[in-house]
């Protein structure tokens, strides 16, 4: 097993990887940009190296500096997390050349599945249904226009290099195509350093269902069941769950088999995700392989009792995958909510600034994967994801209740977050009854405004704070003379 791993990422996923390493007795080296010297992943690592300026291209996408940092620190392996260099096969190859283990698939398999167009060609050899689409990234507007006509509108613009909704745009009519392609290319460039995009038939009212896979270097491969990630805003997943409320045993078996077949056919190793769209007739289409750990991996971990990040590290170090398909089981239900620094009442504008105070939810079945703390300053340079809140429950309904309670216990003060919005999604009748399609948000959450059920209490607290604060020292209140509280007993028991 490795003695030291460099983590080429930031935020909650870097923290998640550090936790896994610590439990495996592996020392961790964090890298950071100049804007991230106070980031949680830096504070939690054993060592830290600042690799460049705030812009991702200067730091988290800067292969030279990251490899240099690995060399200096004596790391034996690099965990890329998700995003940034995670699906960059050139980076994976360069790690290999420098004698570093890249914790992910090999560069060839990564290149194959990462090129969505090439991978569809490969997979045509096996019986995995794919969505009609372009055979290669488009080179000119004319080419896009012709392909779109052939595929038939509506079409989806997708980044060749990417995932996570970055670079994805719908064009419903020929008139929308140019702007959608341009926007997709810009976002793809910013997010992945590669502006290639292609077109695909847009399946309407689908569910997004994906299968987690694990494959070692000894020919063993399993799937670890599905996640449904249909609740998306602008093609960005915001709530994920496992199992899918739509799934039945037959469909699960067929899709799981397809996922493992994809892994085997592409020679894929380590953890990955095979994404599908499923239409209302339970027909499923292969979408793409995400060649990395995913944001939503915790729901699989909670439902199946596996530790995917530890398995990534074990597989990369050459260990055998000891999980057997027949022994894997789903138990209960897990949900994940992504907590973003966005203002849902104001067009989801990114919210920057200092988190003056925060408090994570706690309790049985509640897990928080977080990259923030009280006093942390959210900067403009990176993804607005602050943390992920994951809950497990015996049934889907108990998981939903628990999530609502956990969200209502989540305190982040100083910036707007998506917490109140997520609470309203979680309590929506269509969500509760499992009517989760990818158009859920568009259909059910138009013109969202924040509830103000506790406005009076908030006004009271603000006003009273000024009174109490003028009396109390800066530190916590302690042995105050007669606090209003001290009348509680008499007040209740006396019935006054």
């Amino acid at each position: 097993m490795f003695k030291k791993i460099l983590i080429a990422n930031r935020g909650e996923i870097a923290v998640r990887i550090i936790r896994a390493c610590r439990e495996m007795n592996i020392r961790t080296v964090a890298v950071c940009s100049e804007a991230d010297r106070s980031a949680l992943h830096v504070l939690m690592a054993d060592e830290a190296v600042c690799v460049g300026g705030p812009a991702p291209l200067d730091s988290y996408l800067n292969m030279e500096r990251i490899l240099e940092a690995a060399g200096i620190s004596g790391a034996e392996a690099i965990h890329p997390g998700y995003g940034f260099l995670a699906e960059n096969h050139r980076f994976a190859a360069r790690c290999g050349k420098q004698g570093l283990v890249f914790i992910g698939p090999g560069p060839d398999a990564m290149k194959l599945v990462g090129d969505k167009v090439a991978s569809r060609k490969t997979l045509s050899r096996i019986d995995v249904p794919v969505i009609p689409g372009m055979k290669a990234a488009g080179a000119s507007l004319k080419e896009f226009e012709e392909s779109a006509k052939e595929i038939g509108y509506p079409v989806m613009v997708k980044a060749s290099a990417g995932g996570g909704g970055k670079g994805m745009r719908v064009a419903r009519h020929p008139a929308e195509l140019r702007l959608s392609v341009e926007a997709g290319m810009r976002e793809a460039k910013a997010a992945f350093g590669d502006e290639s995009v292609y077109l695909e038939k847009c399946i309407e009212r689908p569910r997004h269902i994906e299968f987690q896979v694990l494959a070692d270097h000894h020919g063993n491969a399993v799937h670890v069941f599905e996640r449904e990630c249909s609740i998306q805003r602008r093609h960005q997943k915001i709530i994920e769950e496992s199992p899918s409320p739509f799934m039945d045993e037959e469909l699960r078996r067929r899709m799981g088999d397809a996922a493992v077949a994809v892994v085997r056919e592409t020679g894929y190793t380590n953890a990955g995700t095979v994404e599908f769209l499923v239409d209302e007739n339970r027909k499923f289409y292969f979408l793409e392989v995400n060649a990395r750990i995913q944001v939503e991996h915790p729901v699989t971990e909670m439902v199946t009792g596996t530790d995917l990040v530890k398995w990534q590290i074990r597989i990369a170090s050459g260990e055998r995958l000891t999980l057997k398909q027949k022994d894997l089981r789903q138990r209960g239900h897990a949900l994940e909510c992504r907590i973003y620094a966005e203002d849902p009442a104001n067009g989801f504008l990114p919210c920057l600034g200092k988190i003056h105070f925060m408090k994570n939810p706690e309790g049985p079945g509640v897990r928080v994967d977080s990259g923030i703390y009280s006093g942390y300053e959210v900067t403009r340079y990176y993804d607005p994801i602050l943390a992920k809140l994951i809950v497990w429950g015996e049934q889907r309904s108990t998981a939903c209740s628990r999530m609502v309670q956990a969200l209502s216990d989540y305190v982040i003060l100083g910036i707007q977050t998506t917490i109140p919005y997520l609470m309203d999604v979680l309590t929506h009748p269509d969500f509760l009854s499992g009517k989760t399609y990818t158009d859920f948000i568009q259909k059910n959450m138009p013109d969202w405004t924040a509830k103000k059920d506790f406005l009076v209490e908030a006004l009271a607290a603000a006003s009273i704070q000024d009174v109490l604060a003028s009396k109390t020292p800066a530190g916590p209140v302690k042995r105050a003379g007669v606090s209003p509280w001290q009348t509680l007993g008499a007040w209740r028991l006396g019935g006054r």
């Binding site: 926007a183 810009r186 976002e187 910013a190 104001n346 067009g347 989801f348 504008l349 990114p350 920057l352 600034g353 003056h356 105070f357 408090k359 403009r380 990176y382 993804d383 607005p384 969200l407 209502s408 216990d409 305190v411 982040i412 003060l413 100083g414 707007q416 917490i419 109140p420 924040a450 509830k451 103000k452 059920d453 506790f454 406005l455 009076v456 209490e457 908030a458 006004l459 009271a460 607290a461 603000a462 006003s463 009273i464 704070q465 000024d466 009174v467 109490l468 604060a469 800066a474 530190g475 916590p476 209140v477 105050a480 007669v482 606090s483 209003p484 509280w485 001290q486 009348t487 209740r492």
Partner: protein, 174 residues
């Protein structure tokens, strides 16, 4: 003691009295008897109508941030709010002609040039922060009077990007 708080676009009057260790509060035209205390500097326990509430409070940038049961309130005193908002993009009146950056970020695209005619809803510029693009659209039809920034430029929240001039003929009532 009366305080006027601004919450979003609304103003709320709160009258606060302290009496026999309790607070009497008049807000939204109703009276409440409240017991309250600070558990820690950021945590207030309130009892309203026999019911306990936990309010978490922080102050910064002249505002109070309060979280109760997952709801998030930003409160400020009207004077401070006016000062904070001075120059930030407004949906009303004059502000509709001034296109400002809604957040710190970089200007990805300027879609118009000076003297261009624009129609309500036209995309004038795109600003990017946290890898998300935000389009800025014309709230009124008019003519571009001034473009104050260049593509690629870094801007602060509230920074003026484009100034419009309403077309004399197309003037609408709010």
């Amino acid at each position: 003691m009366e305080t006027i708080w601004t919450v979003g676009d609304e103003l709320y009057s709160v009258i606060l009295e302290k009496k026999e260790g309790k607070f009497r509060i008049t807000a939204r035209e109703q009276e409440y008897s409240i017991e309250a205390r600070l558990v820690t500097p950021h945590w207030m326990s309130l009892m309203v109508n026999n019911r306990l509430y936990n309010a978490y409070i922080a102050e910064g940038s002249g505002r109070k941030f309060i979280s109760i049961n997952g709801e998030h309130y930003t409160l400020s005193l009207p004077d401070e709010e006016a000062a904070l908002n001075r120059g930030v993009t407004g949906a009303h009146g004059e502000g509709r002609l001034l296109i400002r950056a809604p957040m710190p970020g970089s200007v990805l695209k300027i879609s118009v040039a000076e003297k261009d005619t624009v129609t309500e809803g036209d995309c004038l510029a795109i600003v990017e922060a946290m890898k998300m693009e935000t389009g800025l659209h014309a709230a009124v039809s008019g003519v571009v009077k001034r473009v104050c920034v260049k593509e690629g430029q870094q801007v602060d929240a509230g920074e003026l990007l484009i100034e419009l001039e309403e077309m004399a003929s197309g003037k609408k009532e709010d």
